[in-house]
């Protein structure tokens, strides 16, 4: 996995260190838990084990088992409990070990958390963060590899963050914890060891603000989560062909920074949208439609989409690797758009 170019880095204020995405997540949680006693963590193997991905290691030592709570394997139950705690003055951060297991908690997320504020006419609120994973290529097969973030972006009342860099992950998670709404926070499980610059100083990143990870002139690659790295590698390939690609990372798919996407589309006139969810009815469809509606007269060609193959994620590496967008695939679609195939 390549690292983002200089443009993808955070502002160089004060001391900047290279840390992993897992460390960035852990720092965000620790800082918010120090700042606000209402913040607590809940999930399977979150305490001493620090989750299978070790993202939460050490937090229980600082904050104790009252604030880093190991639960039974009851996703619906502990998400529901977190909703109730959020409605009554706490700010829970729930860990769902694999994004695939969100299905077990769908009623609590979609019918309860997302609806409470609206149904109560604004009287109740649910300041809840659900951290979970997306992403394939870990050879984990169909029930541990899905990217289900589109489902939640479909539901009014929910917000959905899909960070790609340690810098973005830390700043967005802090914002998510301070937000008064339920936020689904998706981390690509293959990115936890990705390193990137993160300032020592405290910062937050607002939701709904896209980030141009690499500026370019000829084609826009809109990419989410780990697909940002795929797009950046595609941009390198395209550069060899003399095509200048701009990589735009929405960072949150709801709220969505339509303005930045459309500005880039107007500038380049050609757009490829890349996301690791299934292509059909997915994030790529929504982003492509939005760009087409808003920038139609400035487009030189139809917006193209690259998503995960519409099959359950298979185990065998030979099969699985075909299901996820690759830099070559993205570059090839971009070349076609530019009439250079």
């Amino acid at each position: 996995m390549s690292t983002p170019s200089a443009a993808a880095r955070g502002p160089a204020v004060g001391t900047v260190r290279e840390i992993t995405l897992a460390q960035a997540i852990r720092e965000a949680l620790a800082e918010e838990m120090r700042r606000d006693p209402r913040v607590f963590l809940l999930g399977e193997d979150v305490a001493e084990a620090g989750t299978p991905f070790k993202v939460l290691s050490g937090l229980v030592d600082e904050f104790g088992p009252q604030r880093v709570i190991d639960t039974p394997i009851s996703e619906a139950g502990f998400v529901g409990i977190a909703v109730g705690a959020a409605m009554t003055g706490m700010r829970p951060v729930v860990d769902i070990m694999f994004g695939d297991f969100l299905t077990l908690a769908m009623d609590q997320i979609v019918n309860q958390a997302a609806k409470v504020h609206y149904m109560s006419g604004g009287k109740l609120k649910v300041p809840l963060v659900i951290r979970t994973t997306l992403g394939a290529t870990r050879r984990s097969a169909a029930q541990h590899s899905q990217s289900l973030h589109a489902w939640f972006a479909h539901i009014p009342g929910l917000k959905v963050a899909v960070p790609s860099t340690p810098y973005d992950a830390k700043g967005l998670l802090k914002t998510a914890i301070r937000d008064d709404n339920p936020v689904l926070f998706f981390e690509d499980k293959m990115m936890y060891q990705v390193k990137g610059p993160v300032p020592e100083e405290e910062y937050t990143i607002p939701f709904g603000v896209a980030d141009v990870k690499r500026p370019g002139r000829d084609v826009t690659l809109v990419a989410t989560s780990s697909m940002v790295y795929v797009a950046l590698e595609a941009a390198e390939l395209l550069e060899q062909d003399g095509i200048s690609a701009e990589v735009v990372d929405p960072r949150t798919i709801f709220p969505l920074d339509v303005e930045t996407l459309v500005r880039s589309a107007r500038k380049t006139g050609r757009v490829v949208v890349v996301d690791e969810g299934h292509r059909r009815y997915g994030v790529t469809a929504e982003l492509a439609a939005t760009i087409a509606e808003e920038a139609f007269y400035d487009l030189e060609a139809p917006v193209r989409r690259v998503g995960a193959l519409d099959v359950p994620v298979p185990f065998s590496p030979v099969l699985e690797d075909q299901t996820v967008p690759t830099p070559e695939q993205v570059a090839s679609v971009a070349r076609e758009l530019c009439g250079r195939n």
Binding site: A76, G80, G84, M87, Q108, Q112, G121, V126
Partner: protein, 337 residues
């Protein structure tokens, strides 16, 4: 069917012996308010002045009133699709309830919730829920929250026996017991999951289910407000002491259909069964009979209470009928906090 008993003259349970005639009359009045409210809802619905769905609580009043009498204002409840009684018993106002049922701006949820979603945090009501069993997590989470915040608030989860079919309930009872959370699970067994007798849907011994998690569970005559209150006080005291959750199985009966349109009920229950419950097991009659026999109130006092309840309901509905609807622009408000 449970064995019909007429007026229970037995000794008052120890937990409620401190209550005076004034207290019992207040509970009688509250039950009468709920009944009059629901009769008015029925009327509104049948006269097509109320949109949507309505599930009436008539026949079950002693459960909500007995349980909520054991609570403090800052304690919380979650309710169900059959929730009007819970909301009123926890302290909601009749006029604002009607406003919500009619989709008016002054409703508890500004008309966005309706009959099945009334929430009133000011009276400790975290909301009725139209997903059967859906609030078990919320109620248990409110109890975890109370514990983490270091208050001695207690959380009550009302649900029908139909919710015994939902896995969520067992997940959260497990955690409530593990973590000794201050929550009381109140199962209102009115014998029917919609149009199906609960014995066709519920295997084994209901009380054995919470007990398997180490949760004390007891069966309560849900038509006798004295027994409900006594059991609720035991459970609430245990929760407030920090000793953990309890489970109350309240046997009760709904007099009307599952919802207002459920008129032909002959395929799932007999008219005779309905008449027996109304004649022999009515919560208002039982309380009145006992209070009269014990010399706690005169016929005039009961009639005055009933009249006051009817007047409150008449005024409330009149107010709501003329109250304004929300501005159409409110449709996009409150999606996000």
């Amino acid at each position: 069917m449970h064995t019909p008993v007429t007026v229970n003259q037995a000794e008052l349970p120890e937990e409620v012996q401190d209550l005076s005639a004034v207290d019992w009359l207040r509970m009688y009045r509250l039950m009468a308010t709920i009944r009059a409210f629901e009769e008015q809802v029925n009327e509104l619905y049948l006269s097509r002045r109320m949109p949507g769905l309505a599930h009436l609580y008539i026949g079950e009043e002693a459960v909500a009133v007995g349980v909520c009498e054991a609570l403090r204002p800052e304690d919380t409840i979650t309710s169900t699709h059959r929730g009007h009684g819970h909301c009123l018993a926890k302290g909601a106002r009749v006029d604002r309830m009607f406003c919500e049922l009619l989709g008016k701006a002054e409703g508890y949820c500004r008309g966005k919730g309706g009959s099945m979603h009334i929430a009133d945090p000011e009276s400790g009501n975290l909301g009725a829920n139209a997903i059967v069993g859906g609030s078990a997590g919320i109620a248990t989470g409110a109890a975890l929250s109370a514990k983490l915040r270091g208050t001695d608030q207690v959380s009550v989860c009302f649900f029908g026996e139909g919710a015994l079919g939902q896995g969520l309930l067992y997940e959260v009872m497990n955690m409530a017991s593990l973590w000794k959370l201050p929550v009381v699970y109140v199962c209102e067994n009115n014998l029917y999951n919609e149009y199906t007798h609960y014995r066709e849907t519920t295997a084994g011994d209901i009380l054995a289910r919470p007990r398997a998690f180490g949760i004390p569970a007891e069966e309560v005559d849900g038509q006798d407000v004295r027994q409900v209150l006594a059991a609720a006080r035991r459970a609430v005291a245990r929760a407030r002491r920090g000793d953990g959750p309890s489970f109350l199985l309240c046997n009760t009966y709904r007099y009307f259909g599952h919802h207002v349109g459920d008129v032909d009920r002959s395929y799932y229950r007999s008219r005779e069964e309905e008449e027996t419950w109304k004649a022999q097991r009515d919560p208002l009659k039982l309380l009145r009979g006992w209070m009269t026999a014990a010399g706690l109130a005169s016929p005039e006092e009961f009639e005055a209470a009933e009249r006051a309840a009817r007047e409150e309901v008449a005024q409330g509905v009149a107010y709501a009928l003329q109250a304004p609807y929300p501005d159409p622009s409110e449709v996009t408000q409150h999606v996000y906090a």
